[in-house]
Structures are given as structure tokens and as C-alpha cells.
């Protein structure tokens, strides 16, 4: 099996607050292979944006990366200094954020931002960079790309701005892109267009994507693998079809069931009681146990780890074969 492009092992991120240290990401591990799209889903507060921030090295205090390894193409990147990380960003890892308005510098034309980024990371002359910028804008579907190079961000609509952000992310041909809620702030019709562009460009360049979102519909469109996060932990991970068709973990099942769909009506939506725990009040054992309809006695004492459960890996005492789980736990303590 080929080595994965991005490998994250036991990632831990802490938040320092006046009232003590809280754990925002607790022991997260996953891989992304070349050209693959990993969708990281979860509700607000689950820690998905912070995970993305840790990988790209954009964690600001009070957030602190305190444990685990992050490897890109075999090389460790979590222990690089600021300068090395800066060179890595943009060239090897691209980023797309939620708000296109604040992702672009309002004082620089679109073309200038693209050209500057490319000159900083690639060995191009200004003329070559400009030509490539125009090409990129055309590729993301911006009409009249050549003229658009001299537009300022505020002259473009929300959808067009997000396409420019896409072009910026791809301009240095990175191997990995972290996309944090790229379509949440857009209208439905524009959302579809932007997802389409993202999918096409990733396919053509074999770029890996870590897509962070709370919108399951978007994930269903584009993801190859899905990781479900809850209270800072990854509680289920597996191939997209498996998670969408036959999720194993009770939280994932509850989540999928409570999303309204166009095709169901006249019945109350199944709901999960309660809400995600605050970071300063995470339950013992399995973080989901107070809300779980299939709770077992051991769930409030022992914290489950990811173990095979049907077609996916799930951190749940119910779904894992007990002996398999115990083997894994024993191996880790050894």
C-alpha cells in the first residue's frame, strides 16, 4: 500500500483558559492518500476547524499543539519553525476558508494577489505568473478572466470571490488543500457551482483535500472518505459510501437520521436528545454516552478507541467486537 500523503497520528490540541486547560482535539489519527478527499464532519465545537488549523500550522494562542505527529509525504511538519512552515504553506498545502470577503486582501487586485503568491513560492517571472493567473481564473470559471485580473475583491460577487480563493489555493500546485467550510456562506446555486469546480480541479491535479464542514450534503457530493468528530475526538471513520449508507456509531446514525430530506414528510424527525458537551464538561468514558440511546454500563467508565465495525472504524463499545477492542487497548498500553 502506497504511503499516504498526509498522515496524522494522535493529534492533541489544548486551549489555555483562565479556568484551566481544555482539550480541543483529543487523540485524532487519520490518513489522506494522494488525490483523495477526506470529509471531516461534525457539529460546532467538535474540533474539526482546529484540526485543520493544526495541520496547516495556523493555531494562535490560546490554542496550542501539544501532542501527536503530522507527516506530509513522509516528512514531519508539526515541529517546523515558523519560517519553514511559511514556505510549506501555499506551496505544498493550500487553504480555503469560509468567508471569501475576509480571505482576500481588499486593497489588492485579484491578479496581484495571485501573482504575488506565485512569485513567492515558484520560480516564475512576473509576466509568466500573470499569464498563469489568467489561466487559473478561467479554469475556475470566472467569465472574462483577463479583465478580472485587475478587479478588486469588492467588485466581485460572493460566488466569484470564492472561486478566486480557489484559484489562490491551487495556484502553486499544492499537494494538499485544507478547505474549511468553503461553501457555507454561499447560496445554494453558487454552492453547487463551487463544489463542481473544486471537484474538477482536484481530479485534474490529483490534489488531496481535507474538507471540513457540518453540511452532510456537501460531503456526500464530493468525499471519498469521511471522519466524524465529536467533542474533539474522531468517533467514526471510513469510506464515504459506508458511512452514508450504513453508519455504525450511534452518533453518526443519529446525525444521519435527523437531517431532513426532501423525500420524507408527515413524521417527526428523529432527534438526538441534549447537545454536544462544552469543552470544560466532557463526560467520562465515551463522550457521547449521556445522549446515546444504546448506552452500555461500561460506556461511562471506559473510553472506546477506533476499532473495525462492519465497513467502518467506530469508537464504540457496542459496535466493536469486544475482544478486538481489548486487544487494541492492550497493545497501546504495552
Amino acid at each position: 500500500m502506497a504511503e499516504p500523503l498526509l498522515s496524522v497520528r494522535n493529534l492533541r490540541v489544548e486551549i489555555a483558559t483562565r479556568r484551566g486547560t481544555l482539550l480541543a482535539v483529543d487523540d485524532a489519527s487519520f490518513d489522506i492518500a494522494e488525490g483523495e478527499v477526506l470529509g471531516v464532519v461534525g457539529e460546532s465545537g467538535a474540533g474539526k476547524s482546529i484540526t485543520g488549523g493544526a495541520i496547516i500550522g495556523l493555531l494562535e494562542p490560546p490554542l496550542r499543539h501539544v501532542g501527536g505527529e503530522i507527516r506530509l509525504a513522509g516528512r514531519r511538519i508539526d515541529d517546523l519553525d515558523a519560517e519553514a512552515m511559511r514556505r510549506l504553506r501555499g506551496r505544498h498545502i493550500g487553504a480555503i476558508f469560509q468567508d471569501p470577503l475576509t480571505s482576500l486582501n481588499p486593497l489588492m487586485t485579484v491578479g496581484r494577489q495571485l501573482v504575488q503568491t506565485m512569485i513567492a513560492h515558484l520560480d516564475l517571472s512576473p509576466r509568466e505568473a500573470r499569464a498563469r493567473a489568467a489561466q487559473l481564473l478561467a479554469e475556475v470559471g470566472l467569465p472574462a478572466a483577463q479583465e478580472r485580473l485587475d478587479s478588486y475583491p469588492h467588485e466581485l460577487s460572493g460566488g466569484m470571490r470564492q472561486r478566486v480563493v480557489l484559484a489562490l489555493a491551487f495556484c502553486c500546485e499544492p499537494q494538499l488543500i485544507i478547505a474549511d467550510e468553503p461553501t457555507t456562506a454561499l447560496d445554494v446555486s453558487v454552492q453547487a457551482q463551487v463544489i463542481e469546480v473544486l471537484r474538477r480541479m482536484c481530479r485534474e491535479r490529483a490534489t488531496a483535500v481535507m474538507l471540513i464542514t457540518h453540511d452532510m450534503g456537501v460531503i456526500a457530493e464530493i468525499a471519498d472518505h469521511i471522519a466524524v468528530m465529536y467533542a474533539g475526538r474522531i468517533i467514526e471513520i471510513g469510506r464515504a459510501e459506508a458511512i452514508l449508507r450504513a453508519p455504525a456509531h450511534p452518533y453518526t446514525r443519529g446525525l444521519m437520521a435527523c437531517i431532513p430530506s426532501m423525500h420524507r414528510r408527515y413524521r417527526d424527525l428523529p432527534q438526538i436528545e441534549g447537545s454536544m458537551p462544552r469543552l470544560d464538561a466532557i463526560p467520562s468514558g465515551c463522550a457521547f454516552h449521556p445522549r446515546c440511546p444504546s448506552r452500555l454500563p461500561r460506556c461511562d467508565r471506559e473510553r472506546p478507541v477506533l476499532a473495525p465495525a462492519g465497513a467502518t472504524q467506530s469508537a464504540c463499545w457496542l459496535t466493536a467486537a469486544c475482544d478486538q477492542m481489548q486487544d487494541i487497548v492492550a497493545a497501546r498500553h504495552a
Binding site: I15, R18, L22, S44, G45, R278, D280
Partner: protein, 312 residues
Amino acid sequence: MSLQATIQPGAPRWWEGDLPHDFVRSPVALVAAASTLLIVAVAMGAGLIAPYDSNDPASANVIDARLPPGSSGMTGHYYLLGTDPQGRDMLSAILFGTRMSLMVGASSVLLAALIGIVLGLVCGYFRGLLDAIVMRIADVQLGFPAILIALLIDGITRTVVDRATHDRLAIPVLVVAIAASFWVQYARTVRGLVLVERGKEYVLAAMVTGVSPLRIIASHIRPNVMGSVLVIGTINLALAILTEATLSFLGVGVPPTQPSLGSLVRIGNEFLFSGDWWISICPGAMLVALCLSVNLLGDWLRDALNPRLSSG
């Protein structure tokens, strides 16, 4: 999704928030607060603490005039900070003077705040013609220095009323004059905050419920904009005290029978170069101490409240 929401959604109550926590950990804030409190306590208790009642002409002994600090006069009294040209004890004069400065300063700040907040609330909520007029007046007024406005008001009063009435009204007129130069800051800040709050959904909900506009302004909007007023007020207090001191120094402030720190500096000004330094320097030092403490406290308050405001 905001990080704050995960840890503690919304703004915490002030006593459980960061402010008291920052306060006890900041040496500047503690010293400034202690010093301010000390000066205020001492000044307000001037009637009890001061060795002599400096406003009482009988306590002034011309024989003991212009004695240096630490000397005993011919009358046998001990003068810790010396005496002024009329034989008044400097220490008592400073204590009563500080009280006067504080009272005038605080009153004018309160009056300015009252005018500014009311106008800010009304203009920000109702907009329209009233807002346009008041804001244009405010803009024009900002073009004038505070001293000039105060001088203007004082000058007009002097010409309009006779001398005796003017002496009686001197302090209220002074308070009004200083307040008139400071209200704009409050009005503008409050108006800006009201414009923001007005669009928020809890105000819209009250409108839909049918609550009257005056009630919305008073019970919904006002509590949410008062925080910033506190910061302005603290910083303004030092400025108001200095403005009053300047006016009194120029001779158009408090009447000579009830001197403030500024008038004391003025009295001592003539004698500065003849060697009787204490008559000016001592009140001056007190003025500096007072304004510095208040200013530092205000600065700390502004900085402490700022990150919370911007991250909220």
C-alpha cells in the same frame, strides 16, 4: 464556529469575567486605584482632616505669610507645607482645593455624560432630522478647543448678569461650561453603539411585540451601551479636572473665595521666581498626582475592556 461558544457562549457577567481577574493581577491598576481612592478620601474628608479651614478668612494670619514648609509661624501654628501670601495654611488649602477640583470635575463629567447619553440614545434610535441637526452641531463644536468654549460661556455669563450674581453662580456656570465642551464624545460613541444595537434581533423582537420606542431605548438599548460610557468617563475626569484647573489659573474659573488647585497655582505663580516655590509647586504636585492616577486607571480600564469587546 467561534471558539468562545464552545467554552462559554455569550458574554459572562462582569463579576465572573476577566475584568476583576485582570485587575488584581495588574500592578498599575492596583496602584492607580489605591492612589485615586486615597486622594478622593482625603479630599472629601477635608473638613475633618485639614488642620485649618482654609475657606474661613479668619484662619488666615497675614503675619505668617509666605512661610516655607515645615515652619512654625509667629502665631505658634505649625505649617506642614508652608503658607501662601495671605497666611493661609497650604496643606489645608490644598485639601480643600482638591475637593473643589474633584467636585467641579466630577459634576461636569456627569452632566456631560447625561447630555451626551440622552442625545446619543435619541439620535441613534430615531435618526432623521433630529439626528442630522444634533450631529452637525456636534461636528461644529469639535472644531473648538474645550477651553475656548468654556471661556465663551463664562464670558457671556459675566456680561449678562451682575457681579454678585455671577459670584454666586460661578461654580454652576463653570460646571456647565466644561460639560458643554465634553458632551460630544459621549453622544457620538453612544450613538454609534445604538446604531449597532438597534439592528439586533432582540430589539426587533421588542418592536414586533409592541413595546413603545421609549421603553425600548430605556430598558433594552441603554443597558447595553453603558459599558463604553464608563471608559470615556474615567478618562474624561482627568481632562475635566485639568480644564477646570486651567480656567481657574486663567482667572475665569472658581471664585477666589473657594479656590481650587488651579487657583492656588495661580496665586503662587507670581512668587515662583522669588523663591517661594511651595505656593505653586505643592498644589501643582497634587494636581499631577490626581490626574495621573485617574488617567492610569482609565487607560487600564480601556485596555482591559477592549479585547473583550472585539472578540465578543
